[in-house]
Symmetry: C2
Subunit: 496 residues, 2 copies
């Protein structure tokens, strides 16, 4: 009987994993290869598959099984205990949301997204105001339905960063914001991109990027790299972890860092243990921890001096002409240009977290009711002026720039900055564990670093919460210090 | 009540269409882009989706609905009547097969396919004998379960060529075989490929092929052309009809004719009326009719003199160096080399049907019990000697060459030859309807021809059976004469 319940539980998880893999393939193909006229039927295929997944997640027999397993779960049996605990946690949330609420939310988000696609190019915030007002209302309603201890925002944040709270995250990010704003005081704001680099064809860039991904440890037998307008990483199945990038012929470093970023995500997904596939023990802890992996490879490794030396050498094989125009030191400087700017996704490593903090402060105020949606554009611009010393002249470069809020993702942004914090904490410990890390990186030897991440992060799946994992790694709960120390050193090198 | 039933029927068809489109995407991706290590989870995804489809097809409520709709269907309401009639026909077949039988059949076919992949390179028929014996036993059993009027083979053929019977198909194909065997009496048998042509890179070939597909009417906004080891056409959804080819750098004509072939299939799929999508009125009649479309474009158009003139001109834009080595007449001769050979998929237009007839005769004998699987290799070689004057020295080039039987496809082969017969009948009528067809083709004007096919074939979906459609087109039931007349003219031109 007991083993029957377990079988039912793991078979259902297995079925859900397969359906989610299929759903991810539908999404991957949509963004990478689907012909334009396929969008109508693709939307209907995705809708159907999402329904099938939802039915299986909310099936009363499954819910009862999970409750029963939870009652008798033994914490000493760590993997099974984790699986039951985590599945129960997400099911409990789902079960508190009435079906009609979920349906209305989906409809609203789809409508709002379509409106945003139209409104953004025209900086037409007035068109979005009613949508965003309704989205924030529903978000507050969702928080009330789900429940929270201190702040309604906690209930929203929890979807993306389980177990985290505003009381924990906000002071951390505010400390970063205040410190960074002071640090970059002397930098010239700019709305332009990196200085011009020689034009490099897409296929040469693609070859270089594939080589870099393979060198750092991405397994191409278990994945692939394609092109899409918005870069992303997607897990289609066990042994099938894909990523995409875009290419800018005038700026090959853009693809290099995008691919390092997506490779970081993919290495996490390729690093789960095979026996835990499709269960919480074979899944990511949180978006923050996922982002720690992407940013660690993109920034802490990719924008370091030893990596520039390695990259310069590899460039000689793939982009010999572009290489001849520069020195390894130029490459490092190009990778580390700091310029306060308006657009989050184009921001440098130092100013990036400021963009995130601004969004967190605005989200909090919108959810608590201190800020009206009508006043959001001005509040946005004021915070950009305060932290980055720059105001948007068009709302498309201001409050309308990111899709997140307009498609209902409220509480998502902080995970980007948490990734920076977590990654820096890990890197401090990695430098202790691998004293010759820089020499290794310079030589293109990334396997000790990857092994460390596999052992200390990837292979644990969701056994620990993000805070527990970081505490286990660093001996104390996460602080901003490692990240700020790292940036201080980088800025001082940059000035020298 | 009546309209409730109708809604249920069409909603179920719509759901099935979406699930089948997703299944096709899983298969397309598997053959085109999936990384090698993804095969395990892909197989499990395909298995799950096939189960979901099967459950929806065999759901008693759906079966009852179809029976009820069939009782009250009005033939004057042609589209609805066709939809109910055709769905009922395939459901009735399915309902006669016990669940255990279907499961055993699937297992056997999967095992046998895996064994064939191993056995073929070693010409190891002994390894396949037990599998094939069991497959033929199950096929006979299936025929008995499903029922038939004259010959058990009819029940198998019906899956691929609905409403056709051995009594109808065999005399047609035998007449072709006897006539062709006499016609090619003077040709030198060969086991080698076409004479060497200049080496042409894959990307140039791909550009030429895409241009040809677009010129004949394939809509790239509603599809795409990719590369795969075995070329195929796949319909992922409304507005998403894809095809693949392979490239041989030493033989660019191989890709040209492969793409014309797959384009023929794709034009049929792109030609169904939008309002009938996902219903029998928006689906192909049979594999024979599908093949008539691919072979019409590949052979009757693609290997004609006016097409060679057009192709030669277009080659000047994409393969200028290869073009300089030849004349339009050389191109036509290269496209029409007739050589009895061992491998079906490499056969020329004239000898191709002989390969098919041999397989039909063997299938019939295996199913009726006149031939034992043990004696199959010799029977195979004897028929090749009789019709093509050539014997295989390795069984991998003989009885082991095609996957069909070894994965349970019995009754499939005749559709390849029926496609030739149907296509030639259509072409005779097309030449009456479009007297200046050759001039049009020479100029690259394919739209009158495509319009004729849309109107007389594609847009009818499954309203008519293949025989009814061809009778409607030609004024009499299908005969071999148009196909044989066409080949006679071609052979006489080839000799001149």
């Amino acid at each position: 009987m007991k083993s029957d319940l377990r079988n039912f539980f793991y078979e259902r998880l297995n079925e859900l994993e397969r359906l989610e893999g299929i759903l991810n393939l539908l999404g991957w193909d949509q963004q990478v290869y689907m012909p334009s006229a396929g969008s109508g039927s693709r939307a209907r295929q995705i809708e159907l598959l999402s329904t099938l997944i939802h039915e299986r997640q909310t099936d009363p027999a499954f819910l009862a099984c999970v409750e029963e397993l939870f009652r008798e779960a033994d914490p000493a049996e760590a993997a099974h205990f984790t699986n039951v605990r985590e599945i129960r946690r997400s099911l409990q949330r789902e079960s508190k949301l009435p079906k009609e609420f979920v349906a209305e939310r989906s409809r609203l988000h789809a409508l709002s997204y379509a409106a945003w696609v139209e409104a953004k190019p025209h900086s037409d915030f007035a068109a979005m105001e009613p949508h965003l007002t309704k989205i924030m209302e529903l978000a507050r309603q969702e928080a009330d339905l789900v429940g929270y201890e201190e702040h309604p925002y906690d209930a929203l944040l929890d979807v993306y960063e389980p177990y985290a709270t505003l009381a924990q995250v906000k002071p951390l990010l505010l400390e970063i914001a205040e410190t960074l704003a002071r640090m970059i005081g002397g930098c010239e704001p700019s709305s332009t991109r990196r200085s011009s680099s020689p034009s490099v064809g897409e296929s040469d860039q693609a070859k270089l990027c594939a080589r870099l991904a393979a060198d750092v440890g991405y397994d191409f037998d278990r994945g692939r790299l394609d092109k899409s307008p918005h870069p992303f990483q997607s897990t289609i199945g066990s042994g099938d972890v894909r990523m995409t990038t875009r290419y800018d012929e005038g700026d090959y470093l853009s693809a290099v860092f995008t691919v390092l970023h997506e490779t970081g995500h993919a290495l996490y997904e390729q690093g789960f243990l095979e026996q835990h596939r499709g269960t919480p023990m074979g899944s990511a802890i949180s978006l923050g921890v996922h982002e720690s992996q992407s940013r660690l490879w993109e920034n802490l490794v990719g924008r370091s001096k030893p990596f520039s030396t390695y990259l310069y050498r590899v460039m000689g094989e793939y982009l010999p002409e572009a290489q001849r125009c520069i020195t390894p030191d130029d490459l490092w400087r190009e990778s580390n240009r700091v310029m306060p700017s308006l657009i989050r996704v184009e921001a440098d490593e130092v100013t990036y977290s400021l963009h995130v903090v601004i969004r967190l402060l605005l989200e909090e105020a919108l959810i608590s009711g201190e800020l009206n949606v009508r006043d959001l554009p001005t509040a946005w611009d004021d915070l950009y002026e305060k932290y980055l010393g720059i105001r948007a002249t068009h709302l498309r470069d201001g409050v309308l720039q990111d899709v997140h809020w307009y498609t209902g993702l409220v509480g998502y942004f902080p995970t980007y900055a948490l990734g920076n914090v977590y990654g820096a904490i890990m890197m401090e410990r990695i430098r202790h564990a691998i004293p010759d890390l820089d020499t290794q990186i310079e030589r293109g030897g990334f396997s000790p670093l990857l092994r460390w991440l596999r052992e200390h992060v990837h292979e644990h799946g969701r056994r620990y919460t993000a805070t527990e994992l970081l505490t286990k790694i660093a001996g104390q709960p996460p602080t901003a210090k490692p990240f700020l120390d790292y940036l201080r050193v980088k800025l001082s090198q940059n000035e020298s």
